[in-house]
Homo-oligomer: 141 residues x 2
Amino acid sequence: MTGIIVCGHGHFAKGLTSALHLIMGEQDNYIAVDFPSGDTKTELEKNIYRAVAQLSRSENILIMCDLLSGSPFNTAIMLAMKNPNIHVIYGTNLGMLIETVLKRNNQASIEELIDTAISTGKQQIGIFEVPEDTEEDSFDE
Amino acid sequence: MTGIIVCGHGHFAKGLTSALHLIMGEQDNYIAVDFPSGDTKTELEKNIYRAVAQLSRSENILIMCDLLSGSPFNTAIMLAMKNPNIHVIYGTNLGMLIETVLKRNNQASIEELIDTAISTGKQQIGIFEVPEDTEEDSFDE
């Protein structure tokens, strides 16, 4: 089973994870790594390295970052450049996290997980359009 | 200045907001509303209504939700259906939140903010591609 690490600035990772838990319950082979104000880059690196070590039984590890830049992403890609079984996604939102964890729990391949994360993430962004007949009944077309 | 409310399950909103603060500092006319385990829908509604009331000096309010479903989104759209100055976006990730807050601070119109949020959110999702020559110097094309 692919291991999943969520990683980001501040309490991004634990915040997103608390939402995931509320909706789907606790998850195995899943670790949230925060980078709170006051932590050094060295501490962040240590926490990410430790998470990877804890998931070492997984054939692949998917690191889902907050942004395409910053220390969490930069640390993750250093690992991905050294280890072909580590994959790094950025721009994580809750919809893609839920869908990726669901597919991962159903033993999807790493390629499927990456496709799912990116396509679901993009599809699940939008604006709520107020239905035209909300305010009053209307016979207009 | 458009008011911004971030709202989601668990500590999604405060987690994302802690990352925003780390990168951009504290923000005016900005409120994070969590829906932690144990809170009732009535409490969530009260918290969202209170946030809207606190931003009542803003001509428009943009509510940025975690998901296209669930109590935070459903509560937000109930407000949007009653008040044309409230707009609801879903699928919030950190990249779109940062970009939207930046533009909002530069007095962008509500239409620009909605476009920015959606397009930035989608653009800023992807997979890190390991450069082919990372592992060794290569003279191949």
